[in-house]
């Protein structure tokens, strides 16, 4: 009994040691969080926050929490922000975190900001009021990086780099002097550029401890005896047009396309019941008004709209060729469009009239999320004025009125892990947090 209790107790108490093997789809060629050539993804966020810290983090509600910055305050209506840095934080090369280093890091990530060191604080000034600056500072791209003269990057995160093979493999080891405390894991090895199938095979064969899974696979994976964590819907799956509306006919056809998509059958079959059909950019859990936007298909109206146009061009629908689900979704949407009399030709080639895009929501803060999404698809960014829900709704409606984007689904991001991995969690931005994770035995 005691042995069992001891064993049971040992299993619930964190253990130091072990190397976590992770597989991911992303294959970044740079670890610099501010490198804009690397596309934003949950994987990249996860990687960044293993090595680097942000000044601020976010909770599930989108509220800013202290990280490298202990406190902050705004002035001049939000045009000026002063953040006080935490003391005693060291980078993996032993250097202490200073305001100058933090300011330099932020300047690289945000060239339009006016960032200055002020003692143990940094001051950020923008031309316009930015009440959401703290939420922006929680972005992984704004992680504080010490850029050395030799080009090496140093971070204050729980792990630092041992070996880096760009796009292939990253080997990290625990930062002994991490300001948050040494992580339980001794190291993390990350295999990059693996598709879902390979990741699942690695998990099942024991070669990987933590993998991504497609949202529609989460049920099946759970049934396979693995631990599965899914975030709230933090990814927008949408149709994004490459150009603005060119004519009244174009507007009519885009409307017809939006009305032709049968979200219900796609969700139940292709997405296996995961995700939320949506007609809005922001998920309902974030905005509170997502349900207002219609999601039901109206084939009759779609056909009617299409018939108003004499010369209907054939559109190409681009999708990510490495994503099997994307291909299925694109084919299904093309079928739905065909029912409405529209010609949509799926293509995995780079350029297309319409792109089936996965847009990760960068923040739990709705204005910030909206701004990041619209910026990613080259729509005019709308800043909050009053910060009210009405403002937000109006702003989102304005974005949707451009008919550049047709929201389809909000999808969660899901990961599967071996049952031996304990205390790993998901952040609100969809990335995983291994700061307190530890490896137990494989037996449940």
């Amino acid at each position: 009994m005691l042995g069992l209790a001891l064993a049971a107790g040992a299993e619930t108490r964190p253990q130091y040691g072990g190397t976590l093997h992770v597989a991911m789809r992303a294959a970044p060629t740079s670890l610099d969080p501010a490198d804009k050539s690397q596309p934003d993804s949950f994987d990249r966020r996860s990687l960044t926050l293993l090595m680097f810290d942000t000044l601020v983090t976010q909770d599930e509600s989108g509220r800013a929490r202290a990280a490298l910055a202990e406190s902050w305050q705004a002035s001049a209506g939000g045009q000026r922000w002063q953040l006080r840095l935490r003391r005693g934080v060291r980078f993996d090369d032993g250097t202490l975190l200073t305001a100058e280093i933090a300011a330099a890091s932020l300047r690289v990530a945000n060239p339009s900001w006016n960032v200055a060191a002020d003692g143990e604080s940094i001051v950020i000034e923008e031309g316009t009021p930015d009440p959401d600056l703290p939420a922006e500072l929680a972005f992984s791209r704004n992680a504080i990086v010490k850029r050395n003269a030799d080009g090496k990057l140093s971070g204050s995160g729980p792990f630092h780099v041992v070996d880096w093979q760009p796009g292939k493999k990253l080997t990290l080891t625990a930062a002994e002097n991490c300001w948050r405390g040494r992580p339980f894991l001794d190291g993390v090895e990350i295999e990059m550029g693996r598709n879902y199938r390979d990741q699942m095979m690695a998990l099942e064969s024991g070669r990987a401890d933590l993998v991504e899974i497609a949202a529609e696979q989460s049920h099946r994976t759970l049934q396979g005896g693995h631990a599965v964590l899914s975030s709230p819907p933090v990814e927008l799956l949408a149709l994004v047009f490459s150009t603005d509306v060119r004519s009244a006919d174009d507007k009519m056809l885009r409307e017809a396309l939006a009305l032709s998509v049968e979200r219900g059958s796609i969700r139940s079959v292709l997405l296996q019941g995961t995700g939320q059909p949506t007609g809005s950019i922001l998920p309902n859990w974030m905005s509170g008004y997502g349900f207002v936007f219609p999601t039901e298909a109206d084939l009759t109206k779609a056909r009617h709209d299409r018939e108003q146009v004499r010369n209907v061009p054939a559109w190409t629908l681009g999708y990510d060729g490495s994503d099997p689900l994307a291909r299925l979704l694109a084919d299904r949407i093309a079928l739905n469009a065909k029912d409405a009399g529209l010609t949509l030709q799926p293509t995995a080639a780079g350029t297309a009239n319409v792109q089936l895009a996965r847009l990760p929501l960068a923040s739990a803060a709705p204005w910030v999320a909206l701004a990041e999404v619209t910026a990613s698809i080259a729509l005019p960014t709308v800043k909050s004025k009053s910060g009210s829900v009405e403002d937000l709704y109006a702003a989102e409606q304005a974005e949707l009125a451009t008919q550049r984007v047709i929201p389809l689904f909000h999808l969660p991001v899901s990961y599967a892990a071996t049952v031996a991995l304990k205390e790993w969690r998901l952040r609100p931005d969809g990335s995983w947090d291994l700061g307190n994770a530890w490896l137990g035995s494989a037996k449940p």
Partner: protein, 618 residues
């Protein structure tokens, strides 16, 4: 054309026609044989296609049956017939089952025909399968052809349908294999044959829908564009029956292919035309054999013609030469050389002909000699008769005169002197007459051979006219006008001037004698066909046709006191000059004598040459 050439032509034509006939016959037989072989091969390939079709159909049917009875499908059928029927979880089932059973197409349909899972078009879940009623009715049948609509194309496949029943509503399993180049590759094709498959889509022919074992026929354009099949395929589409056509790939017939197009139909009442199987047979072996035969025929024909030439040369020695010899001999005989013999050995008809010819010429010679002898005798008789006649006239007065003299001496001696004087005059006149007669005979008998010289004809004629001018206008006779119609372009001819002058003069004298009452004497000269024509025409009483025939006969005369030698002398002179004389006359119309003389330019040149030699020697 000579006999030898005719013979050669006949031989060559015979050989050519024989070879052509044989070649034509061989070609016809060859064509029939090839067509028969083609038919057999095509039928064989059709049977092969049918066997392969049936074999693959059975395989597809079996695999679909296996899938329909598999645990996975049975479980799915059970689950979907239950209360919490949710087909979402079976989205990938068709794909995995199709992969495991090596089927290109697999769809799982619910009882209403809605797609639960599709291997070839996964996104089509929930959509109704087109033609479901027909497919459902084919549940327990064998494999059939079906056009399957894909995302970006349409494919033709061999399908089978089976039902999985685990509840009230069946689950239909429709699986199939693509009818593509792999299917065609599986066919065992003889050398020179190939099979293509046309998927009947759209309203018009498109080369993109034509498949051959090397891939889409349109991709292998180059020297074999798929558009060449358009006509044949459109015909099958229109008439929906087997058709045969020749596809010409180039101007070389050996590149042609004969294609038989066989329509392939699908299920259902419409039995719509889903595809067209094209079985092609290269014409190269046939065309090459045909060319070979033709070349051989030409070679044989050419050889035959050469042989014909050789044969004709040999035949000439045996056949044409004797014939030619005979022909030459006949020509010589016609030319007057009757003493001609032909030597043709042998005993065949040609030899017999030669013998007959020789006998003929011998006979002719003999007859000629006899004739000549007879004419000579006749001429002597005529001469004797004429002499007797001519001499008799002057002799009778001679006799009378002598008798008068004798009588006068005896009876009237005082008148004897007068009678003697009268009688002497008569005797002398008649003796003179006799001497003239004898002189003319002598002259005719002593006609000299012509001494050729250049003789200006017109000048000579003028000379003759002038000579006789006085006689023509002599008092005591009706005047005769003399006209000269001379061609001034006439050159000199080679002739004896004296003899020619004499001849013309004789004609002029005859003309004068023919116009006792006056008239017109016309002397003409002209050139005709390279000959010099001299005409002496009068306006006298003319001659009868009988007189015209005999007028040149020696001693024939119509005159009371003529010797009949004048025209004979003229004829002799003209003949000695290799000329010809003829007469045109009608009673009351006058008479025209026409002398044809050769210009004899060679003789003239020789005379000039001799003169120059003489001149230079002198």
């Amino acid at each position: 054309m000579t006999f030898r050439r005719k013979l050669l032509a006949v031989f060559a034509l015979t050989v050519f026609l024989s070879v052509a006939a044989v070649a034509g016959l061989v070609l016809a037989m060859t064509r029939r044989a090839f067509e028969k072989t083609e038919d057999q091969q095509t039928s064989g390939l059709m049977a092969e296609f049918q066997r392969e079709f049936n074999r693959q159909g059975e395989e597809v049917t079996q695999r679909v049956q296996t899938i329909a009875t598999s645990d996975a499908v049975t479980r799915m059928a059970g689950a979907l017939n239950g209360t919490a029927a949710d087909s979402a979880g079976y989205l990938d089932l068709a794909k995995s089952l199709a992969e495991s059973r090596q089927l290109d197409f697999l769809e799982l349909l619910d009882g209403r025909g809605a797609i639960i899972s599709s291997a070839q078009w996964p996104a089509k879940f929930g959509y109704p399968e087109s033609g479901f009623e027909t497919l459902a009715a084919a549940t327990n049948q064998g494999a059939f052809l079906k056009q399957e609509e894909l995302q970006d194309s349409t494919a033709l496949g061999l399908f089978a349908v089976r039902a999985a029943r685990a509840g009230e509503h069946p689950i239909y399993v429709i699986g199939g294999r693509r009818l593509d180049k792999n299917f065609l590759s599986a066919l065992d094709l003889p050398e020179g044959m190939r099979a293509l498959l046309y998927q009947n889509r759209g309203d018009h022919f498109s080369p993109d829908f034509l498949l051959d074992p090397s891939g889409p026929a349109s991709a292998a354009a180059g020297s074999r564009p798929a558009d060449k099949f358009a006509t044949l395929i459109e015909a099958v589409r229109q008439y929906d029956q087997e058709m045969t056509g020749v596809v010409q790939w180039s101007s070389d017939q050996a590149d042609d292919e004969v294609f038989r197009a066989i329509p392939l139909h699908g299920l259902g009442k419409e039995h719509s035309l889903l595809g067209i199987l094209l079985i092609g047979n290269s014409r190269r072996p046939y065309v090459e054999l045909k060319r070979h035969i033709r070349a051989s025929a030409l070679l044989v024909g050419g050889g035959g013609i050469v042989l014909a030439i050789l044969l004709s040369s040999w035949a000439a020695a045996r056949v044409t030469r004797p014939v030619e010899e005979l022909a030459r001999a006949a020509q010589r005989v016609a030319g007057g050389n009757w003493d001609t013999r032909v030597g043709v050995p042998g005993s065949d008809e040609v030899s017999q002909l030669a013998e007959s010819f020789n006998r003929m010429t011998t006979e002719l010679l003999t007859q000629k000699e006899r004739l000549v002898q007879a004419e000579r005798v006749a001429a002597w008789r005529e001469l004797a008769r004429r002499l007797a006649h001519e001499l008799k006239n002057p002799l009778f007065p001679l006799q009378l005169t002598v008798e008068n003299l004798v009588r006068a001496r005896l009876q009237s001696p005082d008148q004897f002197d007068e009678v003697f004087r009268e009688g002497s005059r008569t005797l002398l006149a008649e003796i003179s007459n006799l001497k003239a007669i004898i002189g003319r005979f002598s002259e005719f008998s002593k006609m000299p051979h012509p001494q050729l010289q250049p003789v200006p004809v017109n000048e000579m004629l003028r000379g003759v006219a002038q000579l006789f001018q006085a006689q023509l206008q002599a008092p005591g006779r009706a005047p005769i006008a003399c006209q000269l119609q001379l061609d001034d372009r006439l050159d000199s001819i080679a002739a004896d001037p004296d003899l020619l002058h004499r001849a013309i003069s004789n004609l002029v004298l005859n003309a004068m004698d023919a116009m006792p009452n006056g008239g017109t004497l016309t002397l003409r000269s002209r050139r005709e066909d390279g000959k010099v024509m001299i005409e002496v025409a009068d306006t006298g009483s003319g001659l009868t046709p009988e007189e015209c025939e005999r007028i040149f006969t020696p001693y024939y005369t119509s005159k009371q006191h003529g010797t009949g030698l004048g025209l004979a002398i003229v004829q002799s002179v003209v003949s000695d000059h290799q000329g010809r004389i003829s007469v045109h006359s009608e009673p009351g119309q006058g008479t025209t004598f026409i002398i044809e003389l050769p210009s004899n330019s060679e003789a003239l040149q020789k005379i000039d040459a001799v003169k120059k030699e003489v001149t230079s020697a002198g």
